[in-house]
Symmetry: D2
Subunit: 284 residues, 4 copies
């Protein structure tokens, strides 16, 4: 129901990919050819990890900041100012098409818990039917932290309850399985649909999964070195460092080969070693 | 933490009492001498019942409309336009000073369920500690209707779960007692504080109660006929019909005798027979 | 750059045509097949004249009320509440796609001057180049009333300066001619583009005109009596009285024959005698 | 009608002085004991210059960023996030109490022109009477840049028209004198009132002046070295570097001696050499 983008690599002004590309995330907010909805004008959010001092913060994990708004992204002046001023080595950005829950900041992605960020495109089927049971399944100590009314935030807190901070893949797996169990108990056949991004500020995990096996689109960028060989004269590529990676709902450019699809039932991982992916919850 | 006003009587432009009085509700939003907070700038709401066609709507209860916003009331142009255009025989208006929950429309009072409206000034002590248990105590069929994150909305749904629509006084009593029970179980000594307004479109109930026995202020207007005898030359009184009654957190005027305090542990009732009040949850 | 709708006839809840039709104005805000822009999500406005007491207001013209917001119309809860609560015999509604000027309430249509309302779809070419000269051409007594930064509001005040209140057609003609003169002096070839709605609360004037002779689309509804003969079983038509007329940027329905195009260089007029149109600034 | 704060010195999170002090600017937005208005809840703005790479940007002056909002500052979550994430060696922050012009982002201070920022507390008397003449006095090339409707923004553009970028003190002097001349021609006795902050990213100028000679309050912080000798155990002072200087409408703390008044008819200047002030438009 939304579009999102996650970046990891050399510190970058987020505006480079959320505003300045041909099919930037903000361009997708107005016109999203591959989206379930064409228009994603019900608010946006940007969560970013700061550039870390090499002298360090004593080993503490970096704390992400959030800028979220209920305005459409396309004409938001503050988004332009902030995303072209800050620099970040890892950020998540999201434009929302509300499927039901109210248009309010607390329903804008990404969601944050301590040093973790989470965002979601898609939805939990017939959410209001499952909502009470799902919310009860959240750890009581985490329950008061739920601030909005989206399915996505509940799912995030369910994954936190299932150890997301220790093992993000296992935490997401358990949260999705529990959602499917609860949904099935309510005669909801395909409870989970979506792509999900999770980060602790160092690693980025992007999940593509749906109960029905036909998930929202998800793409990752080709290695910059490869792209530079393919397009030695492309001006745009100079903005990006060698470790730059983007995962995004739709390709940011029409350059053939610049973006590759993340397969169904897959988790993509970006860390210091680069991009890789592995099966997730698939037909075992 | 807020200020509110409820009117019942001859159809009136709400602006007469929420904007145009010396100490109107909107004036109180900027400067509330008797309030727990001086400034109530975290949004507002107006809920009103329409003027009913005498030919009737076939016995259906009147459906109230809501206009709620996160803007401060004092400079809101739309509030001026709407409140001075519509006319209503019964309306509730509220200005908010947020004690914690986010500034968003779904946290603005009044809240609505079918033909019922509800609003609250005050708060549930240590709400986040009680929130899960309180929310679980809401009837599962009503649970999905909770849209915001305030203590007030949860209390309203608790009262609905306890039969507010059949007997508003009994419903409120049960909801408050249950909140006190849950609060005490969490070592919260004085869980409930506030004044509450409830209406079905025909009758208005206003409750003043707190566990500690020192509740937020609440006043009701003197009968217009009496006021006219006291102040035969008061221009302002001509705006009001003979059945006009206002219940409000603070007097709207400095006219001595125009507003009388609603006592502690009391429910005030305004209906076709006029104003009366009776003890509510008092020292038994 | 926008879409608009004007209604005159028996008092109606505006929601009937701005929300509940298949291609309602709000539906057009999300997806406007005939629009210069597909998405009109940069705010909206509703201006309405109240139902007049037959006993009259002493001959004073009716004063219109405004509800304007910078939110997209499609998910605005207040617009739903208000437009389905009030009833009006004449109202103007507008959804905006900003071409440049900031997203703010003072840039939302309709604009108001005393008992007059005005709205516009289209634009003045290269407005910032002309803006100072156009603004200087506004009568100094009207100048301080300009609250926003749109070309449309300046044009409205230019028409007021040229006697719109005495003769709306002559006022609009003079304002457009002056704009074309000023534009041409700045080497702007086709300064004016658009459709314009003007009302005094009794009559509705809708202009379709552009300097280039290819104006934004504009349609008017067929007489209800004719429609009822064509579609005797159409449930939807029962909502409308015999004098109901709509002028709108795009047809509200797919019913063949329900909406007819207003020709180029034309002013359409709806008053107590029904619908008619006449040439406006045409090929002289 | 507002409160403002300007900081120059070692790079700092703006939150240190706009949020975390006892009488921080945001605290002043809710309760401003020395202000013309107690509540400054009609929007806010933060303009900041980035930390400059020592390797330099090729001599180009630093470009400031803006974050402005119509929400009250006190509960704005985005302001907390952004002001505690960015770091800046020179920033201007403002909370607004609107005296008339609409609540909209384009009316929020600071205003920006190229690398210059400007903000104002106070007002031009009877502005609507002078507005047309003042606006005409703005250089036509600057005229289209005026985006809002405040007296402050017009005055800024008047100062720009009078060479503010070449000589800020002379530019402000000429703009104020021209305003007084125009005002007097309209029988406005004391046209200018206020305190003004101007910066190019390197130097900060703060003006205190009013035609009547009784200007809004303005204070500057004592040198940090002096403060540390006075208060060797003050934890709060550790957040600030040796070159830190604040100019602000009201003292941020109750520490005696920490803030000194800027005299009437004075311009205060903060640059690499520290703080100084000189007479401005004084008793001639």
């Amino acid at each position: 129901m939304c579009r999102w983008l996650a970046y990891a690599g050399e510190p970058l002004h987020p505006s480079e990919v959320i505003l300045d590309s041909r099919h930037s995330l903000v361009a997708q907010s107005l016109n999203s050819p591959l989206g379930a909805e064409t228009v994603n004008g019900d608010g946006f959010g940007l969560g970013w990890y700061p550039v870390v001092d090499t002298e360090g913060a004593g080993g503490r994990p970096p704390q992400p900041a959030l800028f979220r708004s209920t305005e459409p992204a396309w004409n938001d002046q503050n988004l332009r100012e902030i995303s072209s001023t800050i620099r970040s080595p890892l950020f998540l950005a999201h434009v929302r098409a509300a499927a039901g829950p109210p248009i309010q900041q607390t329903n804008c992605h990404p969601f944050r818990h301590e040093n973790w960020l989470f965002m979601h495109n898609g939805g939990l089927a017939d959410f209001l039917t499952m909502k009470r049971d799902l919310t009860l399944a959240v750890d009581p100590s985490l329950y008061p932290e739920i601030q909005g009314t989206t399915d996505s935030e509940v799912l995030f807190h369910l994954a936190l309850s299932h150890g997301l901070q220790d093992d993000p893949i296992a935490g997401m797996r358990a949260a999705i399985r529990e959602t499917e169990r609860i949904g099935n108990a309510h005669d909801i056949r395909f409870p989970v649909q979506g792509t999900f991004a999770v980060s602790d500020g160092t690693t980025l995990w992007a999940f593509r999964y749906s109960s029905v096996g036909r998930s929202r689109t998800l793409f990752h960028s080709t290695d910059i070195d490869v792209l530079r060989q393919m397009y030695p004269h492309a001006e745009r590529l100079r903005a990006f460092g060698r470790h730059a990676h983007v995962i995004v709902s739709e390709p940011l450019t029409d350059l053939p080969g610049a973006f590759l699809e993340v397969p169904e039932s897959t988790v993509a991982i970006i860390d210091a070693t680069g991009y890789r992916h592995e099966p997730f919850l698939g037909a075992a």
